[in-house]
């Protein structure tokens, strides 16, 4: 699937996120303090909490359900928690945000593995 225009950057609050509803489930599009934009499945690797609803700080988001901290670039929990959620490509052109849905299967690494894993 190619690039989809999802709307303009200013419609996403700084240090916040908006949801893009897709056939393969909700995708959260985040905007950081310095206008970095990232997209992840709106599913926390812990118990599927809606990451789009979390508090965003530098390049991370704290899940609203149990406070796991997910790295926006990789979509992975920051240590010692373990687990990743699927990430999608995004770009900003002329103030518009474009999303390229990943075709990778969205099986997530769930918690339970030890930090060593």
């Amino acid at each position: 699937m190619g690039w989809i225009e999802v709307g303009s950057l200013i419609d996403i609050p700084k240090l916040g996120a908006r949801v893009v509803r897709t056939a393969q489930g909700d995708v959260a599009v985040f905007r950081t303090a310095n206008d970095g934009v990232f997209a992840l499945d709106d599913k926390c690797p812990h118990k599927g909490g809606p990451l789009s609803q979390g508090i965003v700080f530098d390049n991370r988001v704290a899940c609203p359900l149990h406070n796991w901290v997910i790295d926006l670039e990789q979509g992975c929990a920051t240590g010692p928690d373990v687990g990743c959620t699927r990430k999608h490509e995004v770009k900003v052109e002329g103030g518009q945000v474009f999303l390229k849905l990943s075709t990778a299967s969205n099986v997530m690494m769930f918690a339970g593995q030890t930090a060593e894993a």
């Binding site: 999802v6 419609d11 893009v20 700080f57 609203p64 359900l65």
Partner: protein, 811 residues
């Protein structure tokens, strides 16, 4: 080229400093480590359990070779630095190995003191400091019978116990007539001696050693007065001396230890020092907890952040002899300016003594039941005024305010499978394994790795006990000042005071002023800052939605499946057919899966889709409802009973009182949630005495109660005062809420707030000082003018519902 950092002394304080520094500045230095011992860094504290056969050397290793390699650290094991050349900036080891440096970290620990008596150098005479010593003792225990331990202090007794476990017959010789006199008073000392004797140890009290006899190997020990006992092994445990040899030789200023400043720098700014070898503000420490505090500070400066200060530590002691529970902190003897509170139960073998000076805890000694040690220690550190709960003090924290799922019994006794953390279902063995397996030292680390005590926190005390139990020593203590979060070293109170004093009116301003490490802050400090700014500058400060937890941002409670719950306000819990009909209609229109009566006398509509929220709110506010703030750190419910209007026992119109209270205070933001209730008589059907502000009607007026809550740890309220009119109730309530809003720490509910500042203080502010009360109430009403805007109505009318709808649907 990177700066070169050389660590001299591969021990607990030195390596801990490296670990802390690597967290802050992973590749600031080329690091070289010299250690006189032929091992990686190990947990010296646990040598006692190793000697006693409860642990193996393998289990107490902290950093193996792999760790050093992984961090690109050059490790020289078994090489002792003999020369520190500060002109050439070079260190040289006994085998000639040398390394140039830009900075040096000196962590040479201390040397056991060997008493100057004839024969003290005979084979078989040793000290108790490192793995080498333990090996010697184990060797001896297999070949010989009689051991004499000189010194009845912490170390001596742990050595004696270990050797006894290994099958030797052990005699402990002590100079004074009370064991561990530096940590224990005479009573506790006697209890300790008794139970050690029951374990088969022999004691020679008030005895001083004259000579150690023997030729090829030690044969015995002779004491002043001529008494002589046979010995094939003599352990000297009479104390330690900071190891300053190298520092002295290199001309660094030393007194008892290497003298350092509050930044852990020696008189040579290139040379830092931490651990037992240093002397800070005249004190040299011999326990790890303070050394780890030093490590944190030193790391902060090595990483060139340069703001941390070490201001000295209070220490507490535990003895690591399995089955013996003993705790001691501060000044436990006292003088004529202090008072003692003492509990002694010889049958149970329990002894507790708390020394009080000016209504604060000055010290404590406990024997047999040390469960509350951590708590007393914290009260002591914080200098909390204990006069308000003095009579409960000895019975421990969980007796403060009643039952509940709070602190429970001693962990030592618990089965491995026993659940410690009920929120995250973590059991005792999981925590212990994590502590041992992952080498955890602090409460924070245990929280991070096991999740235990990371949710409601009611098991924190237990986890702290487990840490102490597993590691010995006193790791579990909270740092002297609890910083707000990882982003800053400053405490809630400091930041808050700073906001007012320096006119800081935006998040950015606060974070810049206090030099936050993390420009955006984090998920735990941002909501707190938002509240402090909001409550300090009502009207001026622009609330920051992105710094609020989703529940407060969406004005509804997020559920585990990502849907929301909606709880409209039902004033004082009194409703009518029209309201109920309206709620019913809304529930049907948006086919709400669950409608439930809450524990707070209102109705919860659960399972609502986020995008439906604004429309639903629109309909609800048309029907006259406002948000119930069931999601907020804000005024929640005001429960009432029917009161005099109907009830045959009712003394006042409790329902109307409740409605008035709710109408005055709804919409206000508070440090934590705030709940009220009004009962029409002392039968108290509205449970007013477990609320943050509870009103109980009596014939002659209204009793006002504060600082109660149900929940995690039930706490009944304290009686604030009695007033006569409804208007007074309102004024006192507003005043109390305002002090709490101005002084309560974010997420500190009224119960812990009250226990921190003391009921006496709150009475003085809200009851005794009438003028002050009026001012407080006025400030509250002022900020209410701006707060009482229904967020639901706002969002329903708002043209942009961004927060609530997807930005795009892709089909």
């Amino acid at each position: 080229m990177k700066e070169r950092l050389v660590l001299i002394g591969n021990g607990m304080a030195g390596v801990r400093t490296l670990e802390e520094m690597l967290k802050l500045a992973p590749d600031a230095y080329d690091i070289t480590v010299f250690g006189a011992e032929p091992y990686g860094n190990y947990n010296r504290i646990l040598l006692s359990p190793v000697l006693a056969g409860e642990k193996t050397i393998g289990e107490i290793m902290l950093n193996d070779d792999a760790w050093y390699a992984e961090h690109g650290i050059t490790l020289h094991k078994g090489k002792k630095i003999t020369q520190l050349d500060r002109i050439k900036r070079l260190v040289i080891a006994d085998d000639g190995t040398s390394a140039p440096y830009d900075r040096v970290l000196l962590a040479t620990g201390s040397n056991p003191f060997v008493i100057p008596v004839p024969g003290n150098d005979l084979p078989g005479v040793i000290t108790f400091r490192d793995i080498y010593d333990v090996d010697r003792m184990l060797e001896a225990s297999t070949q010989y019978q009689h051991a004499v331990v000189i010194g009845g202090g912490l170390l001596g007794l742990e050595a004696a116990n270990g050797l006894k476990q290994r099958g030797m017959s052990v005699t402990v010789v002590h100079l004074t007539n009370s064991l561990m006199e530096r940590q224990l008073d005479v009573v506790a000392g006697a209890l300790l001696k008794k139970s050690l004797e029951e374990r088969g140890l022999h004691f020679l009290m008030a005895t001083s050693t004259e000579a150690i006899v023997g030729d090829a190997r030690v044969k015995g020990v002779r004491f002043k007065g001529g008494l002589e006992v046979a010995a094939d092994l003599v352990v000297m445990a009479v104390g330690i001396r900071p190891n300053t040899d190298l520092a002295k030789a290199s001309g660094l200023h030393c007194e008892r230890g290497v003298v350092v400043s509050d930044t852990m720098q020696t008189f040579d700014p290139r040379i830092y020092a931490v651990g037992e070898c240093v002397q800070h503000r005249g004190t040299a420490y011999g326990l790890v907890a303070p050394l780890f505090e030093q490590a944190k500070v030193c790391a902060n400066h090595l990483a060139q952040l340069g703001y941390a200060r070490y201001e000295g530590s209070m220490t507490s002691t535990k003895l690591k002899v399995t089955g013996i529970d003993l705790f001691s902190a501060g000044d436990f003897t006292g003088d004529d300016s202090t008072e003692d509170i003492v509990l002694k139960d010889a049958a149970r073998g329990v002894y507790k003594k708390i020394v009080i000076k000016d209504n604060k805890i000055a010290g404590a000694v406990m024997y047999g039941d040390t469960g509350d040690g951590a708590w007393y220690f914290q009260l002591m550190r914080d200098g909390t005024d204990v006069s308000d709960f003095r009579e409960h003090l000895l019975f421990g924290q969980h007796h403060l305010g009643d039952a509940g799922h709070g602190q429970s019994n001693r962990v030592a006794a618990m089965a491995d499978g026993a659940e410690i953390c009920g929120c995250n279902g973590v059991c005792k063995s999981e925590i212990v394994n994590a502590i041992v397996g992952k080498k955890l030292f602090t409460l924070e680390e245990v929280r991070a790795h096991t999740k235990a005590s990371s949710s409601c926190g009611s098991c924190t005390g237990l986890v702290e006990q487990l840490l102490a139990l597993t590691l010995g020593g006193d790791y579990s203590q909270a740092p002297k000042k609890k910083s707000m979060c990882g982003c800053t070293e400053h405490t809630h109170d400091e930041v808050r005071a700073g906001i007012r004093a320096n006119n800081l009116k935006t998040m950015r301003a606060v974070r810049d002023f206090f030099e936050w490490k993390n420009p955006d802050g984090c998920a735990s400090c941002r909501p707190a800052l938002n509240f402090y700014l909001l409550s300090t500058w009502p009207g001026e400060y622009q609330d920051d939605a992105q710094s609020r937890f989703i529940n407060e941002r969406a004005h509804a409670n997020i559920q585990k499946d990502g849907t929301y719950s909606v709880i409209p306000r039902i004033w004082g819990g009194e409703t009518n057919p029209a309201e109920l009909r309206a709620i019913a209609d809304v529930a049907e229109k948006y086919n709400v899966p669950t409608v439930k009566i809450t524990g707070g006398q209102r109705i919860d509509l659960l399972g609502v889709k986020k995008e439906d929220l604004p429309k639903m709110w629109g309909d609800l506010s048309k029907a006259g409802f406002v948000s119930g703030h069931a999601y907020g750190k804000a005024l929640r419910t005001v429960k009432t009973c029917v009161g005099k209007t109907w009830c045959r026992f009712g003394t006042q119109d409790s329902t109307t009182m409740g409605i008035k209270l709710e109408q005055m205070s709804w919409g206000s933001w508070t440090p934590h949630k705030f709940k009220m209730a009004v009962s029409g008589c002392p039968r108290n059907c509205a449970e007013a005495t477990i609320k943050d502000f509870g009103v109980v009607a009596v014939d002659s007026g209204w009793e006002l109660h504060v600082g109660g809550n149900g929940g995690v740890k039930v706490r009944a309220t304290d009686l604030l005062c009695k007033v006569e009119t409804m208007d007074e109730v309102l004024e006192y309530c507003a005043a109390f809420m305002q002090v709490y809003r101005e002084e309560g720490r974010y997420l500190e509910r009224t119960a812990p707030y009250l226990e921190r500042v003391g009921l006496t203080y709150v009475k003085q502010r809200v009851v005794d000082d009438a003028a002050g009360r009026k001012l407080l109430a006025a400030r509250f009403m002022e900020s209410q003018k701006l707060a009482q805007i229904d967020p639901w109505k706002q969002h329903a009318e708002a043209t942009d519902k961004h927060e609530f709808i997807p930005i795009k649907q892709v089909v």
